[in-house]
Amino acid sequence: MDARQAAFRAAIRHSRYVRLLRIGLPSFAVLLAAAFVASIIIDPRSRIGPQVDVESLGLTGATITMQKPKLTGYSAEGRPYQVNAERAEQSLGEPHKVALVQIDGRMQNRDDGWLTLVADTGNIDNDKKLMDLSGKIRLANDLGDRALLATAHIDFGGGDLTTKDPVDLAFGETTLRADRMQIFDNGNQALFQGNVVMVITPKPDDLPAATGAAQ
């Protein structure tokens, strides 16, 4: 992980929306996978794993259902996070997988801001390091950047991210939408396809002859 950590730090110049997506989504994936998978096996209140509070824990057949799980803890880099879900389901036969409904998460971002993620459903496979999100996905940071997606397939092992559905991104004064998107090569490349529309609105202070217009 360290090599990539260094790459992230060195790559501060990465354009923000790629970074928002490339860091944001996989980070949540890693955290959800580790938190839920660990918690189900080990006593949810164990100190080593994340703190998982649940309204109720049910076992029907081989499926564990956690109602209103609330996850709080610190990521590997010591950054606080909190993730709530309406429900989490896991099958005893496949403890490396967890299905989440109505995900609502916050995580402190590398630049001390906060990353927020909302999605209707999330399916995580911790063995394959894959997370599939779907339904009104919204990822945002404190700088006002945000990404709206309908689906997202996140390989949080390799770092690639694809969606076959429209994306709507806003970062700084630029908006970008496209029918499909892929982020690969460890986030160094992003490919948008189909009705790509980018709108760049110059900020008043970008213009040399800024007239001090109110921000």
Binding site: V196, V199, D205
Partner: protein
């Protein structure tokens, strides 16, 4: 009577109007800090438009303007994706009102605020049509120069604003 440069004025770095870029595809490569639009590229700013088959936007991370408050400097350097140069290739058409320029390649250099169109350049303004190999438009002075290799690179025509540029 519009100045030749009006076709390009829309794209000058000075304009505060939003720039809209449409294309079939966009590749963003962080390593070489470029965004490459390909396929039916259409760029619009104000009433100036540009069409081409490919458009590459080169950006860099200039720090915020000197004198900006530290917070603003930090914020804008975060956001600082200043566009340095835009290169259009493949049947480039730049148009604004009755101004119309076509060529194989168009380069908008924002720092120097100049546009260079090269390769089979045809400049149309109303009825008159001029041909050349290279059209250089200085958006600051609103002067433009059309050169033609056929005449040994001599300038075919120099244009300036019919009237002083409106301030």
């Amino acid at each position: 009577q519009q100045a030749v440069t009006d076709a390009f004025k829309g794209f000058s770095g000075r304009s505060d109007q939003p720039v809209k870029i449409e294309a079939d595809r966009l590749d963003v490569r962080e390593s070489d800090q470029a965004a490459i639009f390909t396929g039916n590229v259409f760029v619009q700013q104000g009433d100036s438009t540009l069409r081409s088959s490919k458009l590459t936007v080169f950006y860099d991370n200039k720090p915020a303007a000197k004198g900006a408050a530290p917070a603003a400097a930090a914020a804008s350097s975060q956001a600082g994706r200043n566009i340095r140069r835009i290169e259009a290739e493949g049947s480039v058409v730049v148009q604004s009102k009755d101004q119309h320029a076509t060529g194989d390649r168009g380069i908008f250099d924002l720092p120097s605020n100049t546009v260079t169109v090269t390769g089979n350049v045809v400049l149309t303004q109303g009825q008159n049509v001029l041909r050349g190999n290279k059209l250089v438009v200085d958006l600051t002075t609103q002067q433009s120069k059309l050169e033609s290799a056929a005449s040994g690179g001599r300038v075919q025509g120099v244009f300036g604003p019919a009237k002083p540029a409106p301030q």
